[in-house]
Symmetry: C2
Subunit: 128 residues, 2 copies
DNA sequence: GCGTTGTGCTACAGTAAATGTAGCAAGGAG
DNA sequence: CTCCTTGCTACATTTACTGTAGCACAACGC
């Protein structure tokens, strides 16, 4: 049962500015949100398969995100169980598909951090 | 932040799977991250201008995100102050541009929630 | 010199959110 | 019936974010 959803409790940061892009960025910027959409990009998954795919994220936050995504009509719960993308959600997913290729190139770029290496502190730490 | 001695970041959830897309999705899925990139899409902003643009987000998390984004080489701090996108960051931002048009259409779609309306059985349970 | 303003950046208490473990009711298959 | 899987939730712990205040440094005006 979609019990809580966002009903009033969370105004979606940025939506007060009136720009829907802000509401969207805020929604997508919540933890596991992008990941969930990404994992559903190919085929529907059951809640537990999704949990497994999402690196065993806690079911609490997964359910919360799924409620929010269902409310936004990006994700839906199928007849016989299993979460899948709505046409709208599939469209959204297409939007950041190029991210995949970008990520590959990003990895090969000389970015030192984010892969276990500390920023060597060899660069000017402050520009002052 | 004590896992790696890196200035502001941690090992990036999902990077252990070895897939760079996961690291990227995790990084972008942190609060205000997408928003920061979005606000810098046109021109560099000073830290305070960025803070204003980001709906007065707390400087703590803003600095943290900026450190992470700088480490990922999406953002850089210019000579005379002011944060701007790197070529890599600009490229990433281009990826998200279609999101703008999508958001507009999303708003006009019959999605009831995210603008104050619950899904029907709205009931604020309020844990804690 | 001095004070003022504007950078980037940090401390810290308070609060909101995520984690991790456990468990529920409902539905099928055996 | 039991066994198993579905979606989903409770709750204590841990982590992340908020909000306010303030720092050091630099460039301006006086």
């Amino acid at each position: 049962m979609a019990k809580q959803a966002v009903s009033g409790s969370r105004p979606v940061r940025g939506s007060r500015t009136g720009r829907p892009i802000m509401a969207l960025l805020d929604l997508l910027g919540r933890r596991w949100c992008l990941r969930i959409l990404w994992e559903l990009r190919d085929e529907p998954l059951t809640s537990r398969a999704l949990r497994t795919a999402c690196d065993e994220a806690s079911p609490t936050v997964l359910q919360t995100r799924l409620s929010e995504l269902r409310e936004a009509e990006f994700v839906e719960l199928g007849e016989g169980g299993g979460y899948g993308l709505t046409p709208l959600g599939r469209e959204l997913c297409e939007t950041f598909m190029p991210l995949h290729r970008f990520a590959e190139r990003w990895r090969s770029s000389p970015s030192p951090g984010l892969r276990g290496e500390g920023r060597g502190e060899g660069e000017p730490p402050r520009r002052r």
